[in-house]
């Protein structure tokens, strides 16, 4: 019987305080120990909930009141001054436009260049990635699973703890439907192997298919979110990187 992992250690793990060797051994233990994986998952979700809760803190009333308290004459002067600065900034920006560095999100690891990648952070986070699929083309389905495995394996080799979500909506839902998905076995295997991998189906798409008279049964590893878009926006706000396959 191996020793019990303390909450302190698990916290240190999800906060990236572990070194490569420690992470590797914990990830290996999580694979055999569903309870441990569950505890790590709970801590991670708590962390993302806290992040979400303070993503947009309410603005202090004071700012608005102070701005409103400026007398009209002074206000006009400020406006004029502001316009001047704006103009100077605009022309400066225009003059320097060729010097501006690439501000597009840095693509984590090797993502095929024809995939669209979005991140709100200056540098895309390679440890929190969602892959979005909305097409039932078999090639796309295979591509999304390949990409997911690539990320997971790469993170494992480098000892990083990665969180990955495959989000399916519209026709992409077929990937996660039992009896429809051509990759049901592979998805089950991947889900068992990687505790930090989630498959998420859009409930709105499910409802739409059901309306059309189809019976939608999800694979056992897949979970449903209220809407795929909502999930994507929430994750982006939490600092995740979005990759559309």
């Amino acid at each position: 019987m191996r020793s019990f992992v303390s909450d302190e250690s698990l916290n240190a793990f999800i906060d990236g305080e572990f070194d490569v060797a420690e992470s590797e051994s914990l990830i290996a233990r999580m694979r055999d120990d569903p309870d441990l994986a569950q505890r790590v998952g709970t801590l991670r979700s708590l962390q993302s909930m806290v992040r979400l809760a303070y993503a947009e803190p309410p603005v202090a009333q004071g700012w608005v009141e102070r701005a409103a308290a400026v007398p009209p004459r002074q206000f006009m002067q400020r406006c004029a001054f502001g316009c001047l600065i704006l103009l100077a900034g605009l022309s400066g920006g225009w003059a320097l436009r060729s010097l501006e560095p690439q501000t597009a999100a840095v693509v984590p690891a090797v993502v095929k260049s024809d995939y669209q990648t979005v991140s709100l952070a200056r540098v895309a986070d390679p440890n929190r990635v969602m892959l979005h699929i909305d097409s039932a083309a078999p090639a796309k389905m295979k591509a999304v699973l390949d990409q997911a495995e690539f990320f997971l394996d790469q993170a494992e080799r480098q000892g990083r703890s990665i969180q990955l979500e495959v989000i399916a909506n519209s026709h992409g839902l077929s990937l996660l439907r039992a009896g429809v998905s051509p990759y049901a076995d592979r998805i089950a295997r991947m889900g068992k192997r990687h505790a930090s991998l989630q498959f998420i189906a859009c409930s709105q798409s499910i409802a739409r298919f059901s309306h059309e008279g189809q019976v939608v049964v999800l694979l056992p590893t897949a979970k449903a979110a209220p809407t795929a878009l909502g999930q994507i926006v929430t994750r982006l706000q939490q600092g995740w990187t979005y990759v559309r396959v």
């Binding site: 916290n11 708590l46 962390q47 303070y54």
Partner: protein, 184 residues
């Protein structure tokens, strides 16, 4: 001469000012009061500006400023010992949990989590905010708050454990919503 000094000192100012949103988010997570958070940030910015010569490495600017804000916050707490709104927030948490959709849509998750965080002891709340919101390392948090790393770890662990309990209670009180996946 003053022009030259100003020119030399100039580059730090945008750096300090640019941290306003970061500081505000942390301050709000500490005190849950927009006006007070704004005051704390303002005080921190002006203190940082006055003491800018004490900063040795530019890279440590954020941690250094948060440490200043920690002092401002502690001063504030000391000056207002009588101030205690824990009961208020407790009510908020419970009343929200009564409604059937509690914690199922995003605004309510946000409200629930904020209310739960507000109920944590002050020290735990500070550590949680620094680690979760700004991803400071444990060593940095220890430096900012001037406490041992072991204390950072135990406070964080206790904070997350009680947060989980509070949120679980809130969810159990809410009606079951099978289709909506709770991000828990």
């Amino acid at each position: 001469m003053t022009m030259i000094t100003r020119f030399l000192m100039g580059p730090l100012r945008p750096g300090i000012e640019a941290l306003r949103p970061v500081l505000y988010r942390i301050a709000y997570a500490w005190c849950h009061d927009p006006a007070l958070a704004d005051d704390l940030v303002q005080e921190t910015l002006s203190k940082a500006w006055v003491r800018r010569a004490q900063l040795r490495e530019e890279a440590a600017l954020k941690a250094w400023m948060v440490a200043i804000m920690n002092h401002c916050w502690l001063d504030h707490l000391r000056s207002r010992r009588d101030f205690d709104d824990v009961d208020d927030l407790q009510d908020t948490l419970e009343s929200r949990a009564d409604s059937p959709e509690a914690c199922c849509n995003r605004e309510q998750v946000v409200a629930c989590v904020r209310a739960a965080v507000a109920r944590l002891p002050q020290g735990q709340r500070q550590v949680l905010a620094l680690v979760d919101l700004e991803e400071f390392s444990y060593a940095e948090v220890a430096g900012i708050l001037d406490i041992p790393v072991g204390t950072v770890m135990s406070r964080l662990s206790r904070a997350r454990a009680s947060l989980k309990n509070m949120l679980d209670t809130a969810t159990q009180q809410a009606a079951a919503q099978p289709l909506l996946r709770r991000v828990k």
